[in-house]
Amino acid sequence: MTTINEQHVNPLGAKTIVSDADAAHRKPPLLAVGPLAWIKKNLFNTVGDSILTIVVLFIVGSVGVSFVTWTVGQANWYAINFNIRLLMVGRYEPEADWRVTIVVLLTAFTIGMALAAWARMRLSHAIVLGVFVALTFIIPVVIYATLPLPPFYVAAGTAKIGSDSGPVPQDAVAFIAVAGETVSVRLADQFSGSDNKLSQLNSFADSASNGAMNAAANRLETEAQIAELTRLLAADSLTPNQRSRAEGELSRLEDSDPVVDTLKINQTPVHVTILQGSTMQALPDGDVVLTDPSQGMTVTLPEDGWYVLKKEVDDPEVIDLLETKGIYPILLRTITRGLDDTSSVVGSISQYVRMTDTFTTEATIPSDENGRRMPFVVVTSNQYRGTASFSDYLRLYVAPFLNQINVFLLVVSIVGTLGCVVGQLLDRFFSPSLRPRATSTRAITWLLVVVPILGFILIYGLTGDNGFLPITDTRRWGGVLLTMLLTIVGIIGSLPLGILLALGRRSKMPVVSTACTIYIELLRGIPFITVLFMAQLLIPLINPALASFPGAFRAMIATVLFTAAYNAEVVRGGLQAIPGGQDEAAKALGLNGLQVTLFITLPQALRLVIPPMMGNFVGMFKDTSLVAIVGLLDLTGMAQNIVSQTEFLGLRRETFMFIAIFYFIFSYIIAAISRRIESTGAGQAIKMQI
């Protein structure tokens, strides 16, 4: 549809064209839109870009793979599973647990209502939450039903394993079990004369069998080292320096016979007996002589409590390796509490906890006729040997963990949802139509004031020892409980103080503004740890009576004083951003100075500074970890405390990984909310008004 109008040819020869503007839009070329275009544009735009993509992919991939391998295969997460309570509430009095529960539920309710008031919650959110919580129940059940526990290897015999100082198998091992469980014992494989299979047994093992497996692994490693050194020395790839070192090393290494052969594993019969711990009598069917791997013994246990597995081998030069199911390492822990339900006598009680679940017994360890206490397999020496398979990882760590938290999650989710629903109902029935969220907003404002105070009273206590809500021992506060208390007290205390300081600094009275400026700049110029030290060292000096002032409270004071200085600067920034016209208009209306500040400038400034203020609070939340340095057992302090106990030595990575994730989730959520406020909602609206 092109018309050429000959009358209007312009002097430069360009023709007047009237073309059809309604022609259909054409599709862009294939590589301009769609996923391929996206990939080309974002990942492979230029040669350099492609190289970058591949390099980053390689780095991320290798880090990711090694992280997952470690998480599943190497990590021992039982330090978390055993210590969830410590990490959450520290050594808080168990009798007062209900108070913490109530506070948590109140908080969940408040958060639920806050979501109703400030966010757009839909049914789909509740469904996602429900599915997530349901999964924490379903996953453990599925895992328990489908995945068996790994076997437990026990050595029998009297030969020393490895060097002369190596472990010797025990003649008996005590274990705890629940009534109705079965224990099966059979000879492990003969490993066909090679160390490979022995060294790759990944499961629980007692120290002797662990020693045998390690000896096999070491021998294989030495063999490989010798081969490698020989290869290197044969080739021309070493500097003279390296060559002399390699030669020295080679001369120190010596080849030895396979461990399987020297220990003659599983080449003689072993006499296995399972005794009931209370009576030290063999169970019926619990007395067998095992001669080869095809033959096994299975015993059903009659009652909860201790049992003993005895194993005897005639030949003194031989080690027999037994593969058992139903016997697992035990953690011995000592707790302090009332000795029985009625008396108030406090004493130490030994608890034996099975590693694979939380089955606990307080019965005494069985002893034999000579009064010798039976040895039992402790977690200290035997966690999980070798690289765990994915199913072992799920069965040993994931399922028990989920089992410990799922009820809590369920209750919290229900109460949170309830809060949300209540908020929405309040709005439906009571809010004016012009401001549909007025009621819930007002309710949440009250809750935000009341819940922290009520929560603090509940957790700390109200009256002396025997009254209603007895005062708890602050030294026993710990874990997340203490971290959260520090944070919330810090926020509530530092906000008003910060506002006062900001107003003071902006005051026209030189004495006041100088004093406030000095305070703010002094506190901002020194590290938080100094303030903490000051609070710990100086408060007892003020008055001898304050020597017993709890460390947790001292840390709270330090947090409030320190954060207030930073809050003051943020609030001052907000006050400066309020245009002078607001102040003038208010004065023109006849408000006095105080009224102008209280009703006009300050409310605007505070709304304006919500995002940076939240940033300050995230910083403070992270900084509460510093109280660990002055000896408080907050989440960080508790983690340090746990990994210094013998049972959990060497589990620092797991523990710190866990608490790091905890800190990350909390501060990331707060930071994300503050970003959202800044970019959309309130912050933007206010910016536009100004």
């Binding site: 018309t3 109008n5 209007h8 312009n10 002097p11 430069l12 020869g13 360009a14 007047t16 064209i17 009237v18 073309s19 503007a21 022609a23 839009h25 054409r26 599709k27 862009p28 070329p29 301009a32 839109v33």
Partner: protein
């Protein structure tokens, strides 16, 4: 070789030749089969409703946007992915933006001399002499040592024109140069542009100033929905435009 090319271009070849230029923003077809030739010393005014692709079109000419199909030849050089060609073409095209885009951390004189010195490799003296001359030409010789933040909008836009001219371009592109200005400042900028057109500069101007188009343009091009709907001499365009869209647009704007 380059010299002879320029000679040839000035005689009869178009200095800008666009053939079947197409561009998409995602799925949106912004420029559709644009075919335009601009002769040396021609003043072309591009008009059209907002979102019609007229700004995108002139931004394609110095590769601030890349076109996805078709061919754009500027001064005998094809615009493609070759960095050297892009650099060579940008040296020959000056551009003036709606929002001035002066460098706020440089003085007016520095704004003007920076590109000639760093891109053309002129001496400082030469660049400063040129800046002085251009500031006189745009009528603000006394502002040389101020910062852009200290000038009014109209003054800033005149500095921006001087900055573009300092590179001694063969072509000038104006992207709605008066849209961000207060009414009383529009005239001072338009005067500078008229003077420039009379001096024989090749210009493509995107504007809503119909008076300017009528007075100065050699040709008016009307864009709508990414197409050239109609083009012609100002007399033809403003008096006997034929396409209904053009008529509608003109009736709204005049």
């Amino acid at each position: 070789m380059a010299e002879t090319n320029i000679e040839a271009a000035q005689s009869d070849e178009p200095i800008i030749a666009c053939k079947d230029v197409n561009k998409w923003f995602g799925e949106f077809h912004v420029l559709r089969d644009i075919t335009v030739d601009v002769a040396p010393q021609e003043v072309v005014v591009v008009i059209g409703p907002s979102g019609s692709g007229k700004s995108t079109f002139i931004r394609c000419i110095n590769r601030l946007e890349e076109h996805q199909s078709g061919q754009i030849m500027v001064d005998g050089i094809e615009l493609g992915n070759d960095m050297r060609n892009i650099a060579a073409i940008r040296r020959e095209i000056g551009m003036v933006f709606q929002q001035f885009n002066l460098f706020p951390h440089k003085t007016v004189a520095e704004n003007i001399t920076l590109a000639p010195m760093k891109v053309r490799g002129w001496s400082k003296d030469k660049a400063e002499a040129k800046a002085e001359e251009l500031l006189v030409r745009v009528g603000i010789p006394e502002q040389a040592n101020k910062y852009p933040g200290q000038l009014s909008g109209g003054q800033q836009q005149r500095v921006a024109i001087a900055r573009a001219l300092a590179m001694e371009p063969k072509i000038m592109l104006f992207d709605e140069p008066t849209s961000a200005l207060d009414p009383e400042m529009i005239k001072e900028v338009l005067d500078v542009m008229k003077e420039l057109a009379l001096s024989g500069m090749t210009m493509i101007v995107v504007t809503h100033e119909m008076g300017f188009a009528r007075e100065v343009a050699d040709r008016v091009i009307f864009f709508d929905q990414g197409r050239i709907v109609e083009q012609g001499t100002p007399e033809y365009f403003f008096e006997s435009a034929q396409h209904p869209r053009t008529k509608l647009f003109l009736s709204q704007i005049l």
